[in-house]
Amino acid sequence: MSKDLFRDLYAVHSKQIFSYLLGRTNNKEIAADLLQDIFLKVWNRIDVVRSIPDDERLYWLFSIASNRLKDYYRRSSNRRKAEDRLRSDGKTHSDGDLSGVLAGRERFRELELHIDRLPEELRCMLLMKVIGGMNSAQIGNVMNQPPGTIRYKIAQARRLLAESLRLLDAESIGGRRGSNG
């Protein structure tokens, strides 16, 4: 049954596609809208899905997502520039000290600001791992890079994030405190 196949596809792969879209667009609402568009296309080609082996469906979905993203960038390049400008204008430069940071959502906003500042490729790979739950081989297939390179770049993204969050400073301060006390 087509609807069951469609629901299965959505249940298994939507988070992975969403993580990629979020990594590329940096905007949860846009990523969710694009996700809906992509699954609309999937539904319209549900007969094609049947002929694709299970382990290749993810990459077929990513090819649709990638094309939809290109289309989105083409159509909204001007709007996006304006949004980027607004976003950067609205950003407050924090001191990055997460240790004393506000609880709950405020802390997530803080973390998102730092994730936003990562280079797009690194951010995308990191989110595909953290939100999409994808392994480096799967990400490598999507990004057309060897798994070893993906692991290296994710480590790089984590390093940059730790630095911008000043977790390393906190660690060294904690270390000093520990040694003094």
């Binding site: 988070k15 969403f18 949860k28 973390l111 990191l126 939100i131 984590r158 969050l165 390393l168």
Partner: protein, 81 residues
């Protein structure tokens, strides 16, 4: 090779803290996505139920695209011709 989040050049405590922060954030993002999931799924299915291939096919099947030799038989003002 086993997958690991660990960054070779980060201290263990920083790695663990980063994992915790990212894990909690990812959980929050996914809860947000789950809230939209019903809307996305039903949106797609409602749209496709209305405007999918089957719907258009059904609509087109109701039309005849054959040429017809018959002219309409509306009254013609013969005096004007």
């Amino acid at each position: 090779m086993a997958e690991t989040n660990k960054s070779a050049d980060l201290p263990d405590t920083v790695d663990a803290e980063l994992d915790r922060l990212l894990g909690e954030w990812a959980g929050d993002v996914l809860i947000g996505l789950e809230r939209q999931e019903t809307a996305i799924l039903s949106g797609v299915l409602v749209l496709t139920d209305d405007l999918g291939y089957g719907w258009w096919r059904q609509l087109c099947d109701q039309f005849s695209f054959h040429r017809t030799a018959e002219f309409p038989s509306w009254p013609v003002n013969k005096e004007a011709v």
